[in-house]
Every structure is written in structure tokens, then in C-alpha cells.
């Protein structure tokens, strides 16, 4: 069965420090992986994706993610956190059933403190 795990309910980081939000996945075949961010009372905003190619993917707002096939992980990173990065982050994998279904993790709340 395909699944995504985000092991941390919340991540706390000081402004200016690097941040990492963890994600592991389980899928047969090559994974299509995504990160989305959700601000209060808003929908999901696309940050970045891994389809194929370089293991380090760069996305919006200075975020990047590292794909690790052997560890089946796709951790989200940013070198220097901003208070405005505080939000709910979701990792997702596309199902391989031939249609466009995203399977999401439970989400990780990122809190960046001044």
C-alpha cells in the first residue's frame, strides 16, 4: 500500500536557523513526491516536486528537498527560517493507479520563533 509518514507533529526553530521537516514514503515503482504548505484558512500551496533527476530539488521561497531512495525519504529544508514560514506543511506522493491521486501525510506544523 502507498503511504506517506511525517513523524513530527510540530517542528520549532528560531528565526535565521536552518529547518528540516521530515517525510518518508512507501510506494511501488518510481515515486512522484510533492511538498505543499497550508496557511490558516487557505488551501494548499505547491512548494516543490521530485519526479526524476537530481536528488536535491529547489522550490519556492528558498525551500529545497532532498530525495533519498535508499531511505525512502524526501525531507524539506531551508537554510535560514523566517517567521513567515510558520505554517502547516504536507508531504504527498502520487499514487500509481493511473489517475491523479495524491496521498498525503498528516502534516507537520512549523513554528518559527523570532
Amino acid at each position: 500500500a502507498q503511504s506517506v509518514a511525517q513523524p513530527e507533529d510540530q517542528v520549532n526553530v528560531a528565526e535565521g536557523n536552518p529547518l528540516t521537516v521530515k517525510c518518508t514514503y512507501s510506494v511501488s515503482g518510481n515515486p512522484y513526491l510533492f511538498w505543499y504548505v497550508q496557511y490558516p484558512n487557505r488551501g494548499l500551496q505547491f512548494l516543490l516536486k521530485y519526479i526524476t533527476g537530481d536528488n536535491l530539488v529547489k522550490g519556492s521561497y528558498g525551500f529545497e528537498a532532498e530525495f533519498n531512495k535508499s531511505q525512502t525519504s524526501f525531507h524539506l529544508k531551508k537554510p535560514s527560517a523566517l517567521v513567515s514560514d510558520s505554517a502547516l506543511y504536507f508531504c504527498a506522493v502520487r499514487g500509481n493507479l493511473g489517475y491523479n491521486k495524491l496521498i498525503f501525510g498528516a502534516g507537520t506544523r512549523l513554528a518559527v520563533h523570532p
Partner: protein, 115 residues
């Protein structure tokens, strides 16, 4: 360019009623997917429609139905509402039926509250 638009933004219903939620995809996108996001959880896939045909269905009861119109907009219908249907309902659009290399783009959702 306008993103994915959903209406209404908020809705309050009582148990047993039915509800219709609406979604307009990004211009040029022919695929629309619906997700349910219960508070504190990640979104759960309900349906995908492409070119007016159902392409995929998640693990939801038959009380949930949807359709897509010739202009690619979509409606999600839920009958016999239960308290557990209270959630944020998200619509997402994409170019291709299987997604390809492109992400899905989400609207801001409809917050449905069942009393």
C-alpha cells in the same frame, strides 16, 4: 491568471441535508480532483474527473458524488449529511489526467460545518 476558485467559502448544514460544492479549475486545466481535509489530518482523495469522465474514486460512501461540466468546472454533492462530514473540502486542478510531471493546484476550499 485566476487560480482554482471554489464556492461557497463557508457553509453550515444540519444532519440529513444535502450540499453542493462548486469548483472552477485554472484556465486550460481539464482535470479536477476533490479532497476532504478533516481538522488535524491530511487531505483525503475523493474523486478525480477528466473530460467529464470519472477517472478515480477514493474510499468514500455513495453519499458522495460529483460531476464535471463541458467548461471543466465541477460540483461535489454530498447527501444525507453526517456530523463526520464536517471538513474543509478542497478542489485541485491539473493539466493531465494522470498528472504527468505537473503538480495539482488547489483552491482555498469550502469549510463545511454540520450541526
Amino acid at each position: 491568471d485566476a487560480g482554482v476558485t471554489q464556492s461557497p467559502t463557508h457553509l453550515i448544514k444540519t444532519r440529513g441535508q444535502h450540499v453542493t460544492l462548486r469548483c472552477s479549475p485554472i484556465s486550460g486545466h481539464k482535470s479536477v480532483s476533490w479532497y476532504q481535509q478533516v481538522l488535524g489530518q491530511g487531505p483525503q482523495f475523493i474523486f478525480q474527473y477528466y473530460e467529464k469522465e470519472e477517472r478515480g474514486r477514493g474510499n468514500f460512501p455513495d453519499r458522495f458524488s460529483a460531476r464535471q461540466f463541458p467548461n471543466y468546472s465541477s460540483e461535489l454533492n454530498v447527501n444525507a449529511l453526517l456530523l463526520g462530514d464536517s471538513a474543509l473540502y478542497l478542489c485541485a486542478s491539473s493539466l493531465e489526467p494522470s498528472g504527468g510531471s505537473q503538480p495539482q493546484h488547489f483552491g482555498d476550499g469550502t469549510r463545511l460545518s454540520i450541526l
